[in-house]
Every structure is written in structure tokens, then in C-alpha cells.
Amino acid sequence: MNDLFGKLDIRAFQHDAIENSVGVVIALTSLIIIGFVTYHGRWKWLWKEWITSLDPKRIGVMYLIVVLLMLFKGVMDAVMMRAQLAMAVGDTAGFLGAAHFQQVFSAHGTTMIFFVGMGAIFATMNFVVPLQIGARDVAFPFLNSLSFWLFAVSAALVNVSMFVGEFSATGWLAYPPLSGIEYSPGVGVDYWIWVLQISGVSSLLSGINFLVTILKMRAPGMTLMRMPIFIWSIFGALVLIVVAFPILTATLALLALDRVLGMHFFTSAAGGNPMMYINLIWAWGHPEVYILVLPAFGIFSEIVSTFSQKKLFGYTSMVWALMIITFLSFVVWLHHFFTMGAGANVNAFFGIMTVLIAVPTGVKVFNWLFTMRQGKIHLSTPMLWFLAFIFIFSTGGMTGVLLSIPPADFQLHNSLFLIAHFHSMVIGGVLFGIFAGLSYWFPKFTGFKLDERLGRYAFWCWFIGFLLAFMPLYALGLMGATRRLDHYEVHAWQPLYMIAAAGVPFIIVGIILQNLQILVGYKNRKTDSAIMGDSWNGRTLEWSTSSPPPPYNFAIIPHVGERDPFWAVKEGNEKPEHRKYEDIMMPRNTSFGFWIAGFAFLIGFAIIWHIWWFGLLCLATLLTLVIIRTWGGMDEEVITAEEVKNIEEKGFNRWQQS
């Protein structure tokens, strides 16, 4: 082993035809983007206005860009899997070998959960939370930037695995002993570990940041029970993040120690206990899926209320439901492995705990429906996403309850039935929630609406595509087809796999239309920012600012007297205060987040390839950067009252100015 380069040698760069062509595509795309930016002379602007920005509205947009790129990658993985399975029956081997196929589904799951799901949640938190609570910023602006860049470099690391070495082939959760060094001697699992460690730190930092923001920085008068329901849903997710993510960090560290230092936490021999890993990883894993879905619930609450032009029904009940779900999500983890043989009593306990979650979830559904009742419903694209969510989430939730009954689970576990269930939850729940939130808040952070007609078409493509791709899977699961198969011998399964594959083009068209929405919307944009400020006759504080809002969000911090404070102002129940403009202190931009994350990336890479000297060097540099950054005082700049006045009176529109 070469000490200078660790395990890294020329073989790491040798790949098969498919991987090579992917590499070419990514390289070309990157070159085009770089060329485009250079041609327009925008590097300095990019650096000054975006990369070094501590403005959560900017950071939110950057999260979103990474999310959309990774969504594309994840969908391409899905395309490959569906194409393979539509043809790989009997004597036909398909175009993907087993090892490659296994890397594809591992990458698919990892990408979708950590980069699309978590990324979208943090994107939404960044641009909505400070605005909705009437704050100017988050509690720790620098930490926010650092969180984003750690997220971005971990996305970069997972993409690097495609060119240098390989990715994990052990699924999105890498169970040992398969993921131990004996059965997975390559670097794939190591890439997986360090991608998750870096993004895990990012998530934890954001979790703490936004928790302090919500608890300490709400506008005066905004008591907890006057917070928008979306903030409550985020609060639940944040509690889950802060408590669950350290479990992931510790567990991954133990797996890494097994692999690198020959320890015996999860090995089959020398007293190791792989079942311990499964317990720990799911003790994190179950809260994780609630971290993803609770904000989606919150988004839907805002949307249903706004587009029914009616107060959210049963606000108190909804808050209780959210908190009960948050709490219960800690005591159900074993339902992910009823088949591991824990015994009847243990299985039954966890099964019952799991079924209990159906109650508060059902309560939420009924409250949403009754918000619609006796409202004045405007069936905008966000409302369409909501209605599809009701259908998919209710039916998918039903299958979830089925799975929570241990003996039923024995026949359904790890089959395609399970896959259909959780995709119903993450696509019907999380992804549709993200899309709905995107359509809803898009005009707020850009100043123009997405094209409504294209949005509707995109919705139908996704909805039909989803049903085609996943409903057959329920049948396939009941026929005995398991997950993670790259090939099968039962010819009766093929027609169903083919229908599932037919769903893919619909989804691709849906994605294309979603992107077109942006272009067409931009082309047709109205420049009257006063109307754009309140795009939907909104109810909460973010709609009281211009679109996009000025860097300080609110020239004058509002005083809140009730729920839906902006609606109250418009109805005349609240009089907006007229106070004098004052100086506003905002944090100054900095590149430290970018650099620290960059070195974190290098440390991850070094550990993966066992290039110890380089890893230590980068660690020393990273620590030095941290010390330098935390040496001085608060790095802030003042926006004088005069400047504030000018911005407010001219109507702030950053996009047009830049």
C-alpha cells in the first residue's frame, strides 16, 4: 500500500461503459455551466452575493439548487432500475450487472433521503421560518452557512464516488455483516459512511440553529400558540433532529471503527452483534422519516388554509397531533425488523405503538378536510398536490398499519409491498409536500409566480406516473417479489414490472414541465412587486414583505396579536404600527463556511482512501480556520435607518437590481 496515496491507485478511476458515459455527461454539463458563468462575467457576483452569503433566503435557494440536481440523479437511478427490471427475466440478463445494480439502488435511497428530502426541508426552513416568525435572521447565521456548505460538499462526495472508486452496494442503511470490511472490502461503504457523517453534522447544526431561532426570536406577541402551524411542524422535526442525529453519528462511527481499526461492534465473530447496528440505525432511522414528513404536514396546513381562505380548523388539535407524532416516533423503531426474531411480546409492543400513530395522523387529515369545508376553495397547483397527497397518504398509510402488525409483516417485510408503502409516504407525502411548498412560496423568494397551467400538467404527470410506478408493486410484493432484485425467474411478474416502468416517462415529463414552469413564469412575470408581495391573499407574516424580501426581512419588526397575523391586518382587526425606521445590524458575508466545508470534504476523502497524512493535515487546517473564525467579535454591518427608508420606499427587488 502506497503511503502517499493510501488505497488510491489507477484502478479507482477505471469504470464500465455506463459509469463512463455518466461521467462524460456530468463533465460536459459542468463545463457548460462554468462556461456560461464565465461568459456572463458572474464569478465575482456569485462569490459575493451567494457563496459567501449568510442570508437564509439565499442559503435556502442554494439548498434548493442542490436538491434539484440530486433529485435528477436519484430519478436517473430509478430509471435504470425500472428499465433493468422490465427486461431482466429468465434468460435475459438485462444491461446492469448485479454489483452495479446494487450500487444504483444504494445511491438512489441515499440520495433521495439525505439530499432531496433533508435538503428540501432545510431549504424550506431557511426561507420560510425567519419570515413567518417575524425575525430578521436565524440565531446563528454563520453556522447556517456552514451547515449549507457541509451539505453541499457531502453531495459532492457522493458524486465523486461515481468517478473515483465506487459507491456502497449494501443499501441505503448498510446493514452489517454485509457492510463490514469482510464482505465489503472496497471503498463503497466508506464513501457512504463519510457522506452521511458530513451531512449528519450539517443537519444537527441546522437543527440546533433553527430550534434556538424558533424558541428565542419570534416577533413580540407571537406566543407559541400564535405561531403558524408550519412552524410547529418544523419545531417537531427539529426536536427529532437534535435527539436522533447523534445516534446516527455514533453508529456510523462504530461501523467505521470496525472497518478501519478492526473493531468488533458489528462483526459476526469475536462477540460482535450486527443486530445492535440494526437497532441503533433504526432508532435514528424512524425519527428520520418523521423529520421528513412533519414539515410536509406543516406545508399542507398552510396551503389548505390559504387556498380555502379560511382559518385552519382545530389549530390546538393539530398542535397536539404534531407533538404526539413527534413523541411516538421515538418508540416504534423495532417495526422495521419484526422479522429479526425479538419474540412475540416485544414485537407486539412495538406494533401497538406504531398503530397508535395512525390516530393523530388521521386527526390531521380530518382537520384539513374540515378547513376546506365551508371555505372558498381555489384549486391552484398547491391544492392539487394536497389532494393527491390525501389519496396516496391515506392508502399508503393503511398499508403502513398493515405492516405494523407483526405476523402480517412477516409476509410483507422487504417485499415490493414495503417499497410501495414507503414510496407512497415519501413521494405522496414528503415530495408532493415539497412541490406544493415550492409552488406556494416560489413567488415570495423570486418575485414571480410559476406558470399555473404547466404546473397543473406537471402535477398530473407526476400523479399518474407515481400510480403507474408503484401500484403494481403492491401486487408484486404479494406475489413474493422482494426488493433489491436485479433479476428474477418468475415470468408472471414481468407485466407488472413493465407497467411500473411505464410510470417513469410520465415522471420525467413531469420534471421537464416543472422546469419549464420556471422559465415560462419568468417570461410572463409581472413587475408590480406590491401585488407580488402578497401572491395568494396570504395569512401569515411572510406575505407582508416584498417579493423577494429585503435582506433584513422586516424594516420594522411586527407586533403580533393573534394567529394568521397578516390576515388580521388585512381584515382590519390589527393595525400595523407606524414606528420610525432604525439602524439594522446584519451579519457580514464570509467565506469561512465554504472553506471549512471544503476541508471537511478533503478529510472525508482522505479517510475513505486511507491517506492518513493528508487527512491529518486537512484536519489541522480545518481547526485553524475554526479558531480564526471564532477569534474575533461579532462580524456585523449596519444598514442605516436612511438606507432602510430608501429600500422600503423604492420597493425592494433584488433580482432586478442585480
Binding site: 446493514y175 465473530a269 381562505q309 380548523f313 389549530y315 371555505g375 407483526p406 403494481p472 408472471a492
Partner: protein
């Protein structure tokens, strides 16, 4: 308003019909819903019963959603608009209460069935059970019949109407032993022994496979289980007892990773305690 939803509605309805037609056409292949053993039968009935209980709550939801969206649409001037009507104690009582009752019912079902259908629980029967020891390998299944002193690779013949007491382990990463038409699965783990108790009520051939990713060749780990009359089974046992022996050397060769789904083979069992040895192999310090 209804015009622009006509096309997607009919498209979806059409697709749903296609799917239902396919499912009816292939219904014999729907293993979980056409059980051939008592355990699988009970598990199927549990699934159906729970689904019905839940539909009590879910059907009203699926009706109300489109109904409200249509009835309270902004273009519908006839309906009341009550923008501040945001709570109702009776409604809350109903939708906290009814689901709770259903959940309690399902919880009782869960408790009872978890004990009844515990994989470790032996079946009640007058017939003497057959002992089968299962070792998950990379990437195949070895079935040992310790009392008959034979072993079978990737083929599991069993006598019909006889309880089978499975002891399961792995000499490989974690797998899951599953024959859907006979009953639910249980993990096969190195260094550990799990148990499963199944019975075939009808003769026939049933597909089995591994349900947990265990490496490259995971998809090849399918096998057939064949339930036969007692005479046919005894005949098979006799033939198998004249097969090549499975001693330690043969086992080691057998345990090597294979490229394709292995053709069934039978062996004479040389090492009576082979199964226990494989389980014990993982205890103690690593042999590095």
C-alpha cells in the same frame, strides 16, 4: 371546473382497470393471498381483517376530499362561507374517538396474533414434526434433515400435513428465509439460530427465496419447496441417503460463492452436528 379533470380521470380509471385485470389474471401467483399452509392462511386473514377495519376510516376520507373540493370550490356560490369557523368539539371527539376505537381493536388483534403466529412457537398437531435445519450460504440454501441424515441444496421437499420445525442460521451475511405460500419469513443470521414453524396443507410446489440483501448473488437465492404425500417424501429421503457425502471438505467447497442459481443436489449427511458447528463457528475470537 369539471371539464379539465375529465381526461386525467378517465386515463386513471382505464389504467386502474388494466391493473385489476392483470391481478385477476395472475391471481394464482399472488402467493400471500393464496396460501397453501395454515400459517400463511392465518396471516392472510389477518391482513384482510385489518384492511377492512381501516377502510372504515379511510373510505370517508377518500369520499370527503374530492367532495369538499368540488362543493366548496370558490365558483360554487350556493354554499356557506364561514372563514372563522375553526373549531368544533363534537367533530374533534368523533375523529379522535373513532380512530382510537379502531386502533384499540387492531392493537388487540396485534397482541393476540403476535403470540399465535410467533415464528418460534411450535404448531399444535398430532403428527410428529419434521426437523429441518436451514443454512443460508452465498448465494444458496442448504437444507439439512438431521434425523434422516441427509442434506439438500436449493430444494426443500416436505411431507404434506406435517409440521416442519425449522432451525435457521447463516454462514453468510444476514439473509431472510421466506416461503410466502406457507408462511412469513424470519432472518437467517450468522452465529445465531432462529426458528420457524410451518405446515403445508396441500401438495404442490412453492417458491422460496431470501428476503434480505446479502451480496452480489442475492437475486439467485430462490429455491423450490415441494409438499408431497408421505410415501413420495419417504421415497425421496431414501434416494437422498445414497447421495454423495457432505463432509467438512465438501461443505467448504459448497460454501464458496456461486455464479448462478445452483441446481438442486442432495447429500448424505456425514457430520450430524453440522448445523450446530456452523452456528458455533462465529463464537469465540476471530481466526485471523
Amino acid at each position: 371546473m369539471t371539464k379539465k379533470y375529465k381526461f386525467p380521470f378517465f386515463l386513471l380509471a382505464g389504467l386502474a382497470l388494466v391493473l385489476i385485470a392483470l391481478v385477476i389474471h395472475y391471481r394464482e401467483h399472488i402467493a400471500v393471498l393464496s396460501p397453501k399452509g395454515f400459517i400463511a392462511l392465518q396471516e392472510r386473514d389477518l391482513i384482510i381483517l385489518s384492511t377492512v377495519l381501516m377502510l372504515i376510516i379511510v373510505i370517508p376520507v377518500l369520499v370527503m376530499a374530492p367532495l369538499f373540493a368540488w362543493r366548496y370550490h370558490e365558483s360554487n356560490k350556493g354554499e356557506d362561507y364561514k372563514p372563522d369557523d375553526d373549531h368544533n368539539l363534537f367533530a374533534e371527539a368523533v375523529w379522535w374517538g373513532f380512530p382510537t376505537i379502531i386502533v384499540i381493536l387492531i392493537s388487540i388483534l396485534t397482541w393476540e396474533s403476535s403470540r399465535e403466529l410467533d415464528p418460534f412457537r411450535p404448531l399444535e398437531s398430532d403428527t410428529k414434526p419434521l426437523k429441518v435445519q436451514v443454512i443460508a450460504l452465498q448465494w444458496k440454501w442448504l437444507f439439512i434433515y438431521p434425523e434422516e441424515k441427509i442434506a439438500s441444496l436449493n430444494f426443500l421437499p416436505i411431507p404434506v400435513d406435517t409440521p416442519i420445525n425449522f432451525q435457521i442460521t447463516a454462514d453468510a451475511p444476514m439473509n431472510s428465509f421466506w416461503i410466502p405460500q406457507l408462511g412469513g419469513q424470519i432472518y437467517a443470521m450468522p452465529g445465531m439460530e432462529t426458528k420457524l414453524h410451518l405446515i403445508a396443507d396441500k401438495t404442490g410446489t412453492f417458491r422460496g427465496s431470501s428476503a434480505n440483501l446479502s451480496g452480489d448473488g442475492f437475486a439467485k437465492m430462490y429455491f423450490e419447496s415441494k409438499a408431497m404425500d408421505k410415501e413420495a417424501f419417504d421415497q425421496w429421503v431414501k434416494t437422498a441417503q445414497n447421495s454423495p457425502t457432505l463432509d467438512t471438505a465438501a461443505y467448504t467447497t459448497l460454501a464458496l460463492p456461486n455464479d448462478n442459481n445452483d441446481t438442486p443436489q442432495t447429500f448424505q449427511l456425514k457430520e450430524e452436528n453440522l448445523f450446530d458447528q456452523i452456528v458455533m463457528k462465529y463464537m469465540g475470537p476471530t481466526h485471523e
